[in-house]
């Protein structure tokens, strides 16, 4: 799903922009969302191309990209783990859950595993406080987490634990 960005991708970028018929700054966010949908993240070359095609300074585009949490400028893992750090989860031990994920996968918040399988994020509240502590993997919810459960859930997604290496 994730293409590595090379010059060959540029015609794709152009095609996407052409298709959207972008002519002004007003639908920049929609263009960026489409781009990210297409490439899995926002490759610098794509942003550069958008900038020159629709005459928005690159710095301004990065301003938008870095403002919204939904945009990523690094390649993303196949699965996105969203670890909840809302109040209820915090009280119920979200810190332990996050530390376990980090240890299991060998990455920190905001990073992607070298094998491209997982990206890890934290967020405020995912709305299932009654199941705290909780996390999401892609669009699947997991609640009442314990350190053991976290490990086994990750392994069902193909994770090889970093803990014993």
């Amino acid at each position: 799903m994730v293409e590595s960005i090379t010059n060959e991708c540029v015609p794709d970028v152009l095609a996407v922009i052409d298709e959207m018929n972008v002519s002004s700054e007003s639908n920049l966010i929609a263009v960026l969302q489409d781009m990210q949908e297409h490439f899995g993240y926002l490759p610098p070359a794509a942003l550069q191309e958008i900038s020159s095609r629709i005459h928005i300074p690159l710095a301004r585009i990065y301003g938008v990209v870095t403002f919204y949490a939904q945009f990523h400028t690094e390649p993303r893992g196949r699965h996105t783990i969203r670890c909840c750090r809302g109040t209820a989860c915090h009280v119920e031990g979200a810190g332990r859950v996050l530390r376990t994920i980090e240890k299991e996968l060998g990455i920190s918040d905001g990073e992607t595993t070298p094998d491209g399988l997982f990206s890890l994020e934290t967020l405020g509240c995912i709305g299932i406080c009654f199941l705290a502590p909780a996390m999401m993997i892609d669009d699947q919810y997991f609640g009442n987490l314990t350190t053991q459960r976290v490990g086994s859930i990750l392994r069902t997604y193909g994770a090889r634990s970093c803990l014993h290496e």
């Binding site: 610098p44 942003l47 300074p57 690159l58 710095a59 301004r60 990065y62 301003g63 870095t66 403002f67």
Partner: protein, 896 residues
């Protein structure tokens, strides 16, 4: 905009302000300063109203509005200061200080920082502990300027200047919340980013968050107001001097030329001043080597050799090249040295290389060869026709004014073979083939005439020669012009209609017009367009040659030209000569002298024996460098008065170390005819001397007594002999320069020329027709080579290439080529290409770009080790003998 005025009360003062202005502006015009941080009154931009410091109380309003964004309303009652407002402002400043480092004691901005100023004014002593100070984090190794997040209050002025005024958009807010910062795109170094390093963000930063790299230690530096030494715009700036060294450049808004704004060269191009390569002692060639000598030896040698050569070959065997880089006073002295002390009219300067066709062409059409309007009038023009001028790079501050005019709604027409920056905002771009300007101009004239868009009243009352002109123009329907120029006929029609229908139509051009074999005719063609439409002799309407050097206008004014005495008084006219003979106490030669081009040819033919060059590098700057080197090599005596050992000085017999603009007093005259002061800020290095003192010494050694105590005295002598300058003296231009003509001490100077009457009486239509460039492409040389200037370097590069940051941004020569042509050659972007013409061959890095159309290549002229003028053609304008730098036939191959 409405002209209706609104009456309101601000702090119990009755204020009248035009409808549409803001409370802030109305207060400011009444001399009431409202505290503000994010709003920058110097900008013509809409306010962001982000800082909330400029809040005011408005009677009847629910909450205090931000005055920068609050329009005036009839009968409004405003208070700008009260206990409640002070509380709001205190909170704003306290919050800003809460994550601001408390290192004011060592901050370079101390004393100028607006945050500190308001904290003091509002009596804030306690720090609000709402957040941790942001860590000090500067851009590492930023070449000229850098950003320190810790000092930044996120007011967004820099972003506004960069995006909306400079229209570059190199920086913007990045991230969100506490992590927000102002930044260039992540992962890009500043020199690789779009940042042009104009530093105009530094000029508006209220704290010290954006700063120049070398300006550390600027605090307490003495400020010396002077005029920029680069292009002809004549920006005013303050050299910051500490311990005898220039450590920075700052600006203030109190001048009519550039206000606070500068370009990268003006703001950062000062490092050459104390560069170790500066010449510090006279040099004499002994046994083939340039060796140090005393001033007495060097000037004694020059004087005795000149005397010998004059005795043996007559005074006309000696030539002098004066300098558009030096002051008016020094140019006056070179003319006097040539005419009075030596006895020849062989004096010229590098206007020959650039705008001599302007001086000649506009003199024929109007009677006066200078920019008709002022820089300050540009934003009010409603149609701008820019032809053969890459304004944003060669004259960046004029470029800013053009951008401002377009923001104000003006129509911009650009005729240029390349997609220069201005084409981004142009309504019409005419990418004509190099050297086809006159076909375009006559094609436009045809449209204007045939569609009845000409100004019949103006033609009748203010011009002559219309019938002959109309006959020629009739033969240039847009279809024919289109075929010659390689642009659609419809675009020529549109351009002509837009220009003709303008209220205030202004033409801007530079060397894309003049540096052709038909350069003078091109200029006259543009003058024809203004006569045809009546777009001349009034505000914001005219024909505006943008002069290239800081003082090329002045060097011409001073008579450093072979055919005119100071003040454009023809040397062939006896009455003029008599005036100067009386003043100078000599008999003057009545034959016009040689141009630079003539001098080089005469040197080659060994008719010219000696050449004295002040501040000029013909080996680099003249076309066909190989010929120039050979010609100079045949001289008996070559003297070069310089600040660096440039390419010409390297082959000189005597080199005299001179002073740069920061080391002497005097005046420069900018492109809008404004005579402005330069002031001595630091001492010249080593034994280097002020140029005017060297010239005075030499005149005395040649047996012509000269005694001046200061440049002001030289100016007075000049002004007393030159009627159009008679009203200008140093005390009148102490703060703001005056624009000539200024015939008397009570004359305010002339903003625009030819109001009501042309200098020559009637404006003269000229019959001028397109002719092909001297060299056309063929099988051996299939590409058209054109040359020009760039933003980051100045002319022959001796100064800017010695500025670390400029050199880092633009380190080497390159050749712009269309990707299609490059592919055909089998070349690659970034690899080296060999460019060859009938005269020479050089290697430069390929830059593949669609800016340039297929069939053409373009090179800058700044790089001595790979000089474009090895290639350019020594074919000349038939009137002024300016070389055709803009067109040569070339062959390009992959080098490695």
């Amino acid at each position: 905009m409405s002209n209706k005025d609104v009456k309101l009360t601000i702090d119990s003062v009755e204020v009248t302000a035009p409808q549409g202005t803001t409370v802030f502006q109305a207060a400011r015009s009444a001399g009431i300063d409202i505290p503000h941080l994010c709003y920058e009154p110097e900008l013509d931009l809409s306010p962001t109203a982000a800082c909330r410091l400029c809040v005011v109380e408005v009677e009847g309003a629910a909450a205090p509005p931000a005055s920068c964004a609050c329009p005036v309303v009839e009968g409004m009652v405003v208070r700008t200061d009260s206990e409640a407002l002070r509380e709001i402002r205190q909170t704003v400043i306290e919050l800003l200080l809460s994550d601001h480092p408390h290192d004011c004691a060592t901050c370079d901005e101390f004393g100028q920082c607006k945050l500190e100023h308001y904290a003091y004014a509002l009596g804030i002593r306690e720090k609000c502990e709402a957040a941790d100070p942001v860590a000090v984090r500067c851009e590492p190794d930023a070449p000229m300027m850098g950003y320190d997040r810790s000092k930044c209050i996120l007011c967004g002025r820099c972003v506004a200047v960069c995006q909306n005024m400079q229209e570059v958009g190199a920086v913007d807010f990045q991230g969100r919340g506490f992590g927000t910062e102002i930044g260039i795109p992540p992962g890009v170094s500043r020199e690789d980013s779009e940042c042009e390093m104009c530093g105009n963000c530094i000029a508006v930063c209220p704290t010290g968050a954006v700063a120049g790299r070398r300006t550390v230690g600027i605090r307490g530096a003495a400020k010396v107001r002077t005029t920029c030494c680069y292009c002809g715009v004549g920006c005013q700036l303050d050299l910051n001097v500490r311990d005898g060294r220039v450590v920075g450049v700052t600006t203030t808004s109190d001048n009519p030329v550039n206000g606070k704004w500068l370009c990268v060269k003006g703001r950062f191009g000062y490092e050459f001043i104390d560069h170790p390569d500066r010449l510090t002692t006279p040099l004499i060639r002994r046994n083939g080597q340039l060796e140090p000598a005393t001033w007495d030896e060097a000037l004694g040698y020059v004087a005795s050799r000149l005397t010998e050569i004059k005795a043996a070959n007559g005074p006309d065997a000696i030539g002098l090249i004066s300098s558009s880089r030096c002051t008016n006073e020094e140019n006056y002295l070179v003319g006097k040295l040539a005419r009075a002390a030596i006895g020849t009219n062989n004096v010229d300067q590098c206007a020959r290389t650039c705008h001599a066709p302007t001086v000649a062409g506009l003199a024929i059409s109007f009677g006066s060869g200078a920019m008709t309007n002022s820089i300050g009038e540009i934003p009010d023009a409603d149609v701008l026709f820019v032809i053969g001028s890459n304004t944003t790079e060669a004259h960046p501050i004029v470029g800013l004014k053009i951008k401002q005019a377009v923001r104000n709604g003006a129509t911009l027409i650009v005729a240029d073979p390349r997609k220069i920056w201005l084409t981004n905002i142009a309504n019409i771009h005419l990418p004509i083939h190099p050297g086809t300007d006159l076909a375009l101009i006559n094609g436009m004239a045809h449209v204007i005439l045939s569609e009845g868009l000409a100004n019949a009243e103006f033609i009748k009352s203010r011009t002559e020669g219309f019938e002959e002109f109309a006959k020629i123009v009739e033969q240039w329907p847009p279809e024919r012009a289109a075929e010659v120029c390689g642009v659609p006929a419809e675009d020529i029609r549109r351009a002509a209609r837009e220009y003709a229908r303008a209220d205030r139509g202004a033409i801007f051009y530079t060397l894309g017009i003049t540096e052709h074999t038909c350069g003078t005719y091109n200029v006259m063609g543009l003058a024809n367009l203004t006569l045809l439409t009546g777009h001349v002799g009034k505000e914001s309407s005219g024909v505006n040659p943008l002069r290239g050097q800081n003082n090329v206008q002045g060097a011409c004014d001073m008579g450093a030209l072979p055919d005119v005495l100071p003040g454009y008084q023809k040397v062939a006219v006896e009455e003029n000569r008599r005036k100067f003979e009386d003043a100078w106490n000599v008999t003057l030669s009545n034959t016009p002298g040689m141009t630079i081009t003539d001098m080089l040819e005469a040197a080659y033919d060994e008719n010219l024996k000696a050449l004295y060059i002040m501040g000029e590098d013909p080996v680099m700057s003249e076309a066909h460098a190989g010929f120039v080197r050979e010609a100079l090599g045949r001289l008996d005596l070559l003297v070069v008065q310089e600040i660096f050992l440039n390419e010409t000085a390297k082959i000189a017999d005597v080199v005299l170390p001179a002073s740069c603009f920061a080391e002497k007093d005097g005046t420069f005259t900018n492109t809008e005819r404004r005579v402005q002061r330069i002031r001595k800020a630091v001492e010249a290095p080593g034994e280097a001397r002020e140029d005017w003192k060297i010239l005075v010494d030499l005149m005395n050694r040649l047996g012509y007594p000269a005694d001046y105590s200061s440049p002001a005295e030289i100016w007075s002598e000049f002004a007393s002999l030159s009627p159009i300058f008679a009203g200008i003296n140093y005390s009148r231009i102490e703060k703001v320069g005056l624009q000539w003509p200024c015939p008397s001490l009570d004359h305010p100077g002339t903003k625009f020329l030819h109001s009501g009457r042309f200098t020559r009486g009637l404006g003269k239509f000229s019959v001028v027709e397109h002719s092909s460039p001297s060299e056309v492409t063929d099988n051996d040389y299939p590409l058209v080579l054109s040359t020009g200037r760039t933003l980051y370097h100045y002319n022959v590069g001796t100064m800017t290439r010695r500025v670390h940051g400029l050199d880092k941004k633009s380190p080497e020569n390159y050749v712009e080529i269309n990707p299609r042509d490059l592919e055909k050659l089998g070349g690659q972007d970034g690899r080296m290409l060999r460019v060859t013409t009938r005269r020479g061959s050089i290697v430069a890095r390929a830059v593949a770009t669609r800016k340039i159309r297929p069939g053409m290549v373009w090179m800058p002229m700044h790089f001595a080790e790979s000089s474009a003028n090895e290639l350019t053609v020594d074919a000349y304008d038939n009137i002024t003998r300016t070389a055709e730098f803009k067109v040569a036939a070339a062959r390009v191959e992959v080098a490695w």
